[in-house]
């Protein structure tokens, strides 16, 4: 392949996943499968109170239990700082960071208070059970809408107020003929991977290297963060990713338990293993999504949205974790979505702490929430102005002739520049696909017959491919196997397959001949991991650069050895051949690798090894876009909602592997469905979490999840990378809350009825019965 032709031997093909054989034959290696000789097991004793002061801790009986090696309180690790922010220190937020073990005050049920280390996991749990922590209870703060309370002396629970905007909001609202106002809430839920968290710390004194196994998502960033927190040289800390049973933005952040196993491994000079149980996961791993919006739009008589003014209360739970204020800031920046909003815009986000599990990013952070809010607002405008909601969307959406579209707002620290796209054309495709007019007519007939059925649509713009740089190393061994070494991470999304496809395409080899090494900080110095839908945009683009370099290097020496001009050579299926001469002379990449060995006489003055490093740089993210469409049926007796049909249309720019893209969309949809209808971390008035098992925290099962119909388009490849890639990971979840809310409104015939997610049967029944 070369830059101009964009040949498609592997790119664009739905080839089988390379990573599946060990997974489907039971030979995967997840954190729980990793064991080291002499390892200790850690069990965390967590706070059972939402807010209080630790008065006393009785651990005498626990200490006596045979097999218990140590029990730590905060005092035992006074030299370990609170968990820091991934992007570096932020002074004003520093007081709100989470200590590794609670220091005097507990702030949520599930907060680590003690760590027990024992010879086996059962003894550790038995010992933890024997420890009594006496806590003097303080009143819990459980709503981000309530007045902030004291966090610590001189500091209240409003850790920050974030704002984004442009224009004179007050002036536009003053002169606008229509103002539409809404109050909306997105419930607290999160990513719940099948594999809970796990961490193994090991200290290799012979090399003075601290190892963290069970890393995920961002191994390189965690290596740096651990080194910073533990005051070690980064080169003396290594992270290793194993198989990961789902990430979703939750798994792989640096949590207290990760730090504890590392510190303990060094103190005890023994490996330390910790595996999270499900209850722990539901109260200790990051929550997400809980926001309250008071939003208003100023419109003209045609339904053009002139200005938006949103005041947000963001419930971040008890502490500010590694992401700092990222979700809240993103919320402020991406809320306008595909709409132009020419006059003015203002988002003010009260970033508040409560006595609940700390919150951070979950797949499509800030987008699931804002698409719900924004699309509710558009529906409300249509209703108030008695205009067609599709018309309002068309009228306000950025047009293709306005691309690239710059907006003086930011996402992840970059000004938002929509790189390319035709929002109207995709909307037309969506409506054509479902035959919108006929669909609405059919539903109207069913409603006339007494069925509560309805349809809803949401438009959204995703963001993907955060830069600024990623590098990949490719090296060919003498057997011809091609190793792609990257600091990217595989969280089950098909990362290895996609990188192999791109390398295979660019190099001229079979993708199955690739060995993709990832998530191992010892093998490559830098890496961006897997988050923010970046991997395919950034890492695949870097893979392409490295593969093209290796190709050039191979052709260069092959030209000499085969005595043919470079432009007459090609690499086909791992063999350098002379173009147009089937059965003619050839050299395998393995032979070329041997010819380039340091001691090879044929190498000449070329740099040894058939290998190269490739870097890709991006100044701006890319902005894929899509529509979600839901058809639902409501049971008026119970308030239960059945999703009859779900369509996602999405312009990905360029799909490296369409089936994997569809897999990302389908999986994301299921999670969105959970957030729209079922999943919710609820608390009682004391701040006790009520969703601590899978009987209470309801993930959608295959019975509740309809097959999602996917209209995948490649109409607008991104101009920002040579392959035109836009990123897929978060598109399936983005608009689910919005589309389903709109469909339920339509089904029950009450415009604007749905103001809160998830739409539980109990809530919906109250709405239908007019009790809300």
């Amino acid at each position: 392949m070369n830059d101009e032709t964009g040949a498609t031997r592997w790119i664009g093909q739905s080839v089988e996943r390379l990573e599946d054989p060990p997974l489907v034959t039971g030979r995967g290696r997840f954190a729980g499968d990793i064991n080291f000789p002499r390892q200790l097991h850690m069990r965390i004793v967590r706070s059972n109170h939402a807010h209080g002061n630790i008065v006393s801790i009785d651990m005498e009986v626990a200490r006596e239990l045979p097999g218990v090696v140590a029990i730590w309180t905060a005092a035992d690790i006074a030299d370990v700082p609170p968990i820091d922010f991934r992007e570096g220190p932020i002074e004003r937020l520093a007081p709100y960071r989470q200590p590794v073990l609670a220091t005097g005050r507990v702030r949520y049920v599930g907060e680590p208070v003690l760590a027990v280390f024992a010879e086996d996991a059962y003894v550790a749990e038995d010992a933890a059970d024997l420890i009594t922590v006496e806590i003097e209870q303080l009143p819990p703060l459980l709503s981000a809408e309530a007045e902030p309370a004291e966090f610590s002396l001189g500091r209240n629970t409003e850790a920050a107020i974030l704002t984004q905007g442009y224009g004179d909001v007050e002036a536009v609202f003053k002169s606008a003929p229509h103002i539409v106002e809404l109050k909306l809430t997105s419930g607290r839920h999160s990513g719940v991977p099948l594999e809970t968290r796990g961490a193994l710390g090991r200290y290799d004194a012979s090399r003075d290297v601290l190892e963290l196994h069970g890393a995920a998502k961002v191994p390189h960033r965690n290596k740096e963060l651990l080194a910073r927190m533990l005051d070690r040289a980064p080169s003396s800390v290594q992270c290793y990713e194993s198989h990961v049973g789902g990430g979703f933005g939750i798994r792989g952040e640096l949590y207290p338990e990760d730090v504890l196993v590392c510190v303990a491994a060094m103190r005890f000079d023994r490996p330390v293993k910790w595996i999270e149980d499900r209850r722990e996961h539901l109260i200790a791993a990051n929550h997400s999504r809980n926001q309250h919006h008071r939003i208003r739009a100023a419109c003209n008589v045609d339904g053009e949205i002139l200005a938006i003014d949103d005041e947000i209360c963001h419930d971040n739970g008890a502490y500010v974790r590694t992401h700092a204020t990222r979700v809240a800031m993103m919320t402020c920046g991406v809320l306008p979505g595909p709409y132009r909003i020419p006059g003015a815009y203002r988002a003010v986000c009260h970033f508040r702490l409560t006595n609940k599990t700390p919150a951070a990013t979950y797949r499509a952070p800030g987008r699931f929430e804002t698409t719900f809010v924004r699309e509710r607002l558009v529906d409300a405008i249509a209703n108030q102005l008695k205009l067609d909601p599709i018309h309002i969307r068309r009228l306000n959406a950025v047009r293709v002739d306005e691309m690239p579209f710059k907006r003086p707002l930011e996402a992840l620290g970059e000004e938002i520049h929509f790189d390319s796209g035709d929002y109207h054309a995709l909307l037309d495709k969506t409506l054509d696909y479902v035959d919108w007019v006929k669909l609405n007519r059919d539903l109207a007939v069913r409603r006339d017959r007494g069925e509560m059925v309805g349809v809803g649509l949401a438009m959204f713009v995703e963001k993907a491919g955060l830069g600024p740089a990623d590098g990949v190393r490719i090296q060919v061994d003498t057997s011809g196997v091609i190793e792609v070494i990257t600091g990217g991470a595989s969280i089950g999304q098909g990362f290895e397959t996609v990188m192999a496809q791109v390398a295979a395409e660019c190099l001229g080899a079979d993708y199955k001949n690739m060995r993709v090494t990832h998530g191992n900080t010892e093998r490559i110095e830098h890496g961006i991991g897997a988050h923010a839908s970046r991997a395919t945009v950034m890492t695949a683009s870097a893979t392409r650069v490295a593969a093209l370099k290796v190709r050039d290097k191979a052709l260069n020496i092959a030209s000499e050895l085969m005595q043919a001009p470079i432009d007459e050579l090609d690499i086909v299926n791992g063999e350098v051949v002379v173009k147009g001469r089937a059965g003619g002379p050839s050299m395998s990449l393995g032979q070329i690798a041997a010819a380039l060995a340091p001691s090879s006489k044929t190498r000449g003055d070329r740099e040894p090894g058939l290998s190269a490093e490739g870097w890709f740089y991006a100044d701006h993210q890319v902005y894929p876009y899509g529509n979600h469409l839901a058809v639902v049926k409501v049971d008026p007796d119970t308030g239960g909602v059945q999703v009859l049909r779900y369509v996602v249309s999405y312009d990905i720019g360029r799909a490296i592997n369409p089936e994997l893209v569809k897999g990302q969309i389908a999986g994301g949809f299921a999670q969105g469905l959970g957030g729209a209808l079922m999943e919710e971390f609820t608390y009682n008035e004391n701040g006790d979490p009520l969703a601590v098992t899978f009987a209470d925290y309801l993930l959608p099962t295959v019975k509740e999840t309809p097959e999602v119909e996917i209209v995948l388009t490649e109409d607008h490849p991104s101009p920002l990378n040579p392959l035109g890639i836009k990123g897929a990971g978060e598109s399936g979840v983005n608009g689910v809350g919005a589309a389903i809310a709109s469909a339920i409104d339509d089904a029950i015939g009450i415009p604007g009825a749905i103001t809160e997610l998830p739409v539980t049967p109990q809530r919906l029944k109250a709405i239908i019965d007019g009790r809300k």
Partner: protein, 286 residues
Amino acid sequence: MKPAPFNYYAPTSLAETLDLLAEYGSDDGRVLAGGQSLVPAMAFRLARPRHLVDINGVTELNYTRIDNGRLCIGAGVRHSAFEKPIEDGPLGRLLTMVVRHIAHGPIRARGTFCGSIAHADPASEWCAVAAALDVEMVAESKVSGTRVIHSREFFESIMQTALHEDEILREVRLPILSKGTFVGFAEFSRRAGDYAIAMAVAIYRLKNGMMSDMRIALGGAEATPRRVTEAERVLIGRPPNLGTFQAAGHAATTAIDPLDDANINAEYRRSVVGAMVRRALESAAT
């Protein structure tokens, strides 16, 4: 997620089981059958039995038989045994209707009928069926031998039964329903296989087009499953139609004292009960 320490016994006969229960029943001993409720509760350390008497090896308890007009179900019989009609008449049909709502395939393959009854979860489908049919529970212990407990006296409160510590629920006896009996079941849960918010069992016969031998029982709605005579009375001597079914549903909603918890409030549960009674009757009529 690791259970607290316990002693484990695996008897192979009923006599041996009764010996073990006589010795350990009063010292926090528990019978382990399918383990689909007990084992998760132990993993959470919500249940901490000191002794576990595993009856999975007691093959003499793996039986169902029809005896004297009653279907006798031994303590070893799994939920999945009822997925195909165990009996040719309306009872067999009712049990197949109900079993589909019990959790999921893997759980039905392990969990036992008698185990569910002994566990007495308010949302247990079998407990609602037991209440509807006024079944007999056969309890047995080494010291007091065999005694029969009527379902009305059996369920005392949430997960509380009349069983003694040293007793095993050896068998449950269900009356065979005569041909021409109408049977129906309905439940609502948030997801397929979840604990129901409410369920209803409806059973009746027709005499000259009017309903008789009326049985309506609720599960999941109150602390214990029970027949709702207030709803039954509304229907006796009336024809089966939407109007009478709705009236029965309404009677049930006013008759009950619904469970009220942080996730599902009483008002909502009450309204679901009314709908489930109506639907159970509708399913019986069709």
